[in-house]
Symmetry: C2
Subunit: 348 residues, 2 copies
């Protein structure tokens, strides 16, 4: 089934302008060795014919496309989405275009396979460099410019932008402990993610530093979605001695937790305080404002672009791994803990 191929090529432009393709190519690439009037004439013809050059052909020959690629697992995750936004913002300032490659969820191919495929697909083909968000692949061939955002491994095989997850978790816990909470639940994320692991570490370290016991029942592991956040919180509430505060390892989980708490007839922060992690857009206004750890996701995207451009230009890179600072944003889901009447097994 042959497609009608009626795109206008550089040949057509050359013919219409009465010059060679070489000359047209020079005009397209703003080379300076072309006469003023021929330049303008060719430009006019280009506009008349509505010609735009084929990215495929260009990139094949010249290896300089001024396009950067972004490989992202799932746009439905707010983390990925915000990185995309940041990258987008940074790209706007530059003379680059952005191509986002997304594989969606789980098809028949596993993501690790698809990811490598996509990277190869974009590279050596179309883009000058690639940013990969939450990559699972163990190794990339480092022959081309590539920056990873929040990689699953702590390896430094490739340049990366990583949030200071452990320190962020520490600051969240510090806040809750400072408010007098002693029994603090944790809702974690997918254990295959480096970020989830580091936040859990922060939770544990914080308790250790405060000389508080580590109750495994208080640690519930979800998958960073609102649904699992809801269920994890239910589990915590069902405990014989439920926590007075919950630290959720991401904002979506925190939303789910708040929902569960409200559905259980309790209030936030009246009965239970909540701290999230991420500071996604909704967190500023939802439920009156979620207290959360800002990891500046959008800025992570920006930094990634900066690093990538540096790599593309073959300039030396100062920080091979950029650690994005985190900051606690205090809003309205936390309250000082007021001790109640001690729990007695048989109350009269």
């Amino acid at each position: 089934m042959p497609r009608k191929k009626s795109t206008v090529t550089i040949q057509d432009v050359a013919a219409a302008a009465g010059v060679s393709v070489s000359t047209v190519s020079r005009v397209l690439n703003n080379k300076d060795d072309v006469a003023e009037d021929t330049y303008e004439n060719i430009q006019r013809v280009i506009n008349e014919l509505g010609y735009t050059s084929s990215l495929a052909a260009k990139s094949m020959r010249s290896r300089q496309t001024n396009v950067i690629g972004l490989v992202v697992t799932d746009l439905n995750q707010s983390f990925c989405l915000n990185v995309v936004k940041g990258v987008n913002q940074a790209i706007e300032q530059l003379d680059y275009d952005l191509l986002v490659y997304t594989g969606g969820g789980s098809g028949n191919r596993t993501w690790a396979v698809r990811e490598r495929q996509y990277v190869s697909l974009l590279n050596g083909s179309i883009t000058d460099g690639i940013i990969v968000v939450t990559p699972t692949a163990e190794t990339f061939s480092t022959h081309y410019p590539l920056v990873a955002v929040d990689p699953h491994l702590d390896s430094t095989d490739f340049p990366a932008v990583i949030a200071t997850n452990r320190i962020g978790a520490l600051s969240a816990m510090e806040h809750l402990l400072g408010l007098g909470h002693r029994r603090i639940g944790f809702i974690g994320g997918r254990p295959d993610l480096q970020s989830a692991i580091r936040r859990l570490e922060g939770y544990k370290d914080s308790l250790r530093q405060a000389n508080l016991p580590l109750d495994p029942d208080l640690i519930q592991i979800g998958d960073f979605t609102q649904e699992t956040g809801y269920r994890c919180a239910q589990n915590l509430l069902a405990l014989p001695e439920p926590p007075t505060a919950i630290f959720a390892a991401n904002d979506k989980s925190a939303f789910g937790a708040i929902e569960a708490i409200i559905d259980a007839g309790l209030s936030v922060p009246g009965d239970i305080s909540i701290v999230g992690f991420d500071n996604i857009e909704e967190s500023s206004y939802i439920y009156g404002g979620l207290t959360t750890v800002d990891q500046f996701i959008v800025d992570m995207g920006r930094v990634a672009v900066d690093m990538l451009i540096t790599l593309i230009q073959n300039k030396p890179i100062e920080n091979y791994v950029y650690r994005m600072p985190t900051r606690l944003r205090v809003r309205n889901t936390c309250q000082a803990f007021v001790p109640k009447i001690p729990y007695t097994p048989d109350r009269l």
Copy 2:
């Protein structure tokens, strides 16, 4: 500054396997005239070398890439974002990959120019077909498969997916009128968008049908952002006789309006009822749930993919313009209007 180009090509595979490039190409494209053992041998070599074919070269030659392109103005707009999600979901089921082209905000080039550029860029180069979200361009050369989502013009030059904006607005107004509201404010969107125009029409038509006066002061035009929603609502509240209900032409505006109302010391829906339009994700839980008109954005993306695939396969298309139905989702931002003491200029 020459880039290290060390990607493995089909030539390398052929050499390593001791066959011709033609044979390797046949294996890659699953042609059936290859002997069993050579097939397997080549596959083995491909895996060993970690070869993946160059999208650029492939598409240049064969015009069949199994990639569909998505050109989107701004991922920061929730409408666009949700369409992307829908497209993403639909793509997952198919043997296609998705390439999102986004131009970000306003660079030195205007969007109309960039848009046409992107379409040309992707087409004839890389993708088998394109979906364009909220396109501004007047005309696309219709030589290649293209589907528009929510085009600015009502033209039928190309296949499109459009929400039933006027009818949706009608249903929102019907709801408010049914609750007894007679003075209803309207917060509109960018007047260059077809969808914004149609929703405003619905607002006006509804008032006309109900034999209510059309007060121009009650119509405030923003740009579909939360910020302008806020300011528009402030304008409405500052009116000598403020409305008892507000119909915002999209959910983000509605959020802004609610914020403004709360900041003014009033409550929703206690003092003022709010209806939005879109039903984006946040609307289900924000402020206890926003009453809004669902336009099934995600499904619009899905439908667009279906149409595009049909076009690519050269099959006949039944509905050139698909009109997505809308449905009012009643949540918790509306209340029956209870008449208060009539307003008197000089109260004692």
